[in-house]
Amino acid sequence: MEYFLIIISAIFVNNIVLAQFLGICPYLGVSNKLSTATGMSMAVCFVITLATLVTYLINKYLLVPFQLEFLQTIAFILVIAALVQMVEIVLKKVSPSLYQALGIFLPLITTNCAVLGVAITVVTKEFTFGLPSHMLNLGEALVYAFATSLGYGLAMVIFAGIREHLAMNDVPKAFKGVPIALVSVGILALAFMGFSGMVK
């Protein structure tokens, strides 16, 4: 039941793009076409879950016992950068087809603030999910990370669909490009506000 709440909350209520404002740059950057949007969502999903697993363990068994929490930011970003690089090398060898599909999106993910954001959130923030607030354990952290990245994918795919239609319309000159995209995201976020209050 608790995992279910975490999933609903992370995908709909506290959607990472539309409510938490993380990962906006790639969200606006690669959502022009549905196919690239799907590729990016898959890559992000993969990296967020893996990065959360590694950073959670490093924080719990290395930083906290030695009272080095102040190194969190530096340690996490290095781990994420190294991890992305490693995933790239491993994928290239093990599954060239998946590597091809994710393509240029993998290296871009290092600077996606959603990855670092989720990694920091699961080890510092206290969660409620309608229950007494507590820090997430490893299982919950992984479920949270995975569900969050699903939410990212959902927002991305919906928005790519909208943009494909926008491209065919006649947009006023000053609105061309990013401004009209931002206004559309605003309306999308307004729709997602309807979910607020379902889960705390």
């Binding site: 539309l18 409510a19 938490q20 404002f21 993380l22 990962g23 906006i24 740059c25 606006l28 102040f70 190194l71 969190q72 930011t73 530096i74 970003i77 290095l78 950068a81 290092t110 600077t111 996606n112 603030c113 670092l116 954001g117 920091i120 959130t121 923030k125 000053a174 609105f175 990013v178 401004p179 009209i180 995209a181 931002l182 206004v183 995201v185 605003g186 309306i187 976020a189 307004l190 997602f192 506000m193």
Partner: protein, 196 residues
């Protein structure tokens, strides 16, 4: 001196990080719930930007080309950690409000972007001026966006309430308002500042 002054003014309009270069969107949208929050986030970024620009312009000649990005990220992360300590000590309330977005300055593309594009090729003084210019441009955009959202969302200016009571349009303080306001401000910027 005039060259350095030009670097500062260029960051404000011509190279404005938010409206022209479209960098650092996450903190721009997330922390501008009020003018004072936007201003604080801008100043925090300015702090990191100037210091990291100066440090990187000093070490750039001795950093091997292959590892320059990780080295720059570590330098930036160091200054961000420094900033976290300073804010925790002197402005704990603001540190609490801005929350996650202070550590996330590390992955703000403006900071790494300026390090890569400017500081690694120029001297200390010029890099500092570039940092100040771009940082002020970012601070300016965030304050304006924060101001608009605060006026519409809570009916106040820098915390001074002018409509009495809490009759603002709540949506503008929340997520949708951020996207809508930034979108429309960008339209105005395009209309009045961009040539052709």
């Amino acid at each position: 001196m005039s060259k350095n002054f030009k670097l500062i003014t260029e960051g404000l309009v011509k190279n404005n990080p938010t409206f022209v270069l479209l960098l650092g969107m996450c903190p721009t949208l997330a922390t501008t719930t009020s003018a004072i929050n936007g201003l604080s986030m801008g100043l925090a970024t300015l702090f990191v930007l100037v210091l990291s620009n100066m440090a990187i312009s000093l070490i750039a000649p001795v950093v091997p080309d292959k590892v320059h990005i990780p080295v720059y990220i570590v330098v930036i992360a160091t200054f961000v950690t420094l900033l976290q300590f300073l804010m925790q000590a002197y402005t704990p309330a603001m540190y609490e409000t801005l929350g996650l977005f202070i550590p996330l300055i590390v992955v703000n593309c403006i900071v790494l972007g300026r390090a890569e594009a400017f500081a690694s090729k120029n001297g200390v003084l010029a890099s500092a001026c570039d940092g100040i210019g771009v940082g002020l441009g970012f601070t300016g955009s965030l304050t304006v966006l924060g101001l608009v959202r605060e006026i519409l969302g809570s009916g106040s200016v820098f915390g001074w309430n002018f409509i009495g009571g809490n009759d603002g349009m709540l949506a503008f303080v929340m997520a949708p308002g951020a996207f809508l306001c930034l979108g429309y401000l960008m339209v105005l910027f395009n209309r009045f500042f961009k040539k052709n």
